[in-house]
């Protein structure tokens, strides 16, 4: 995907970004569900006689969810700058020089967003519509859809 060479693109606000984040949350939930189904089918194939549904441990599930979310967010941002939610809402995450985020910055930003999602609320208060994660990693979220 090409990055818009437009440094004057409008920065997205808190509503669009929150909706995009909720869509991404649903996508990550779907990915976790698929992983769970894969685990169930694997256990059923290996031990069909003594099969029981695997219990959901809070720590393990949280850890897997964290890893999946960081891989999903960081991978999407470093490859195209757009997650599924961003694509729906017409947004793109750009770096300091209006280019795509480098993979390390993208994955660290993803981890920061998962650990502290309330940082998104700073978009509503910041003069330049930047979240706490944007201020730390020098990123911007812009509108890329034609209006």
């Amino acid at each position: 995907m090409t990055v818009r060479d437009d440094r004057t693109a409008r920065t997205a606000g808190v509503v669009s970004r929150t909706v995009a984040a909720l869509i991404d949350l649903a996508v990550v939930g779907g990915l976790l569900g698929l992983l769970y189904i894969g685990l169930v089918l694997t256990k059923l194939a290996l031990n069909p006689g003594s099969f029981r549904f695997p219990a959901l441990e809070l720590v393990f599930t949280g850890l897997v969810g964290f890893v999946v979310a960081v891989l999903y967010l960081g991978g999407c941002w470093s490859v195209s700058g757009r997650t599924a939610g961003a694509a729906v809402m017409g947004l793109q995450v750009l770096g300091r020089h209006s280019d795509l985020l480098k993979p390390p910055a993208a994955f660290l930003r993803g981890a920061a967003c998962v650990v502290f999602p309330l940082g998104l609320a700073w978009v509503a208060l910041d003069q330049h519509r930047r979240s706490l994660q944007d201020n730390v990693f020098g990123s911007r979220v812009v509108y890329v859809h034609p209006c």
Partner: protein
């Protein structure tokens, strides 16, 4: 695929128009050097008037009522019985590219919905930013700068 169970008899060929002395004389008059154009114009006017009359007559005709009243029901039923309606329906359905129609309409509806959702989101962003700017006493629109 045959749509009719029994073959219909071929239509008789239309006979060529009979030679008419009046038509030949009129054509000869059209070829005259000075008054020929008047004959040609008169023919055009007559054709236009005739077209209007025929159109008015056709508008007054109720072909459905004529068929219903003049044709015996048995003849209509015989004609309908000779038509393979299933084959006719199959041919019509095969001629319609239904997947392309559904695909095209779905794509356009989806694009409209996506554009609407994005536009509404952007307006909501501006509304929230404007409210916060007013509360904090900031100059509005400053967030548009990258």
């Amino acid at each position: 695929m045959t749509l009719v169970n029994a073959p219909l008899p071929p239509l008789p060929e239309r006979p060529p128009p009979a030679p008419s002395v009046l038509v030949d004389v009129y054509r000869a008059c059209e070829a005259l050097p000075v008054v020929g154009s008047l004959f040609t114009r008169g023919k055009r006017e007559a054709q236009a008037l005739l077209s209007l009359i025929v159109a008015a007559v056709l508008d007054e005709l109720d072909l459905t009522a004529i068929v219903r009243d003049r044709l015996p029901a048995e003849a209509i039923e015989t004609v309908i019985a000779r038509i393979d309606l299933v084959a006719l329906a199959d041919e019509v359905i095969n001629g319609v590219d239904l997947p392309a129609i559904i695909r095209g309409s779905t794509n356009s509806v989806t694009a409209e919905v996506m554009t609407d959702v994005r536009t509404q989101g952007e307006r909501a962003d501006d509304a929230v930013s404007g409210f916060v700017d007013r509360v904090l006493g900031r100059r509005q629109g400053s967030h548009d700068r990258p």
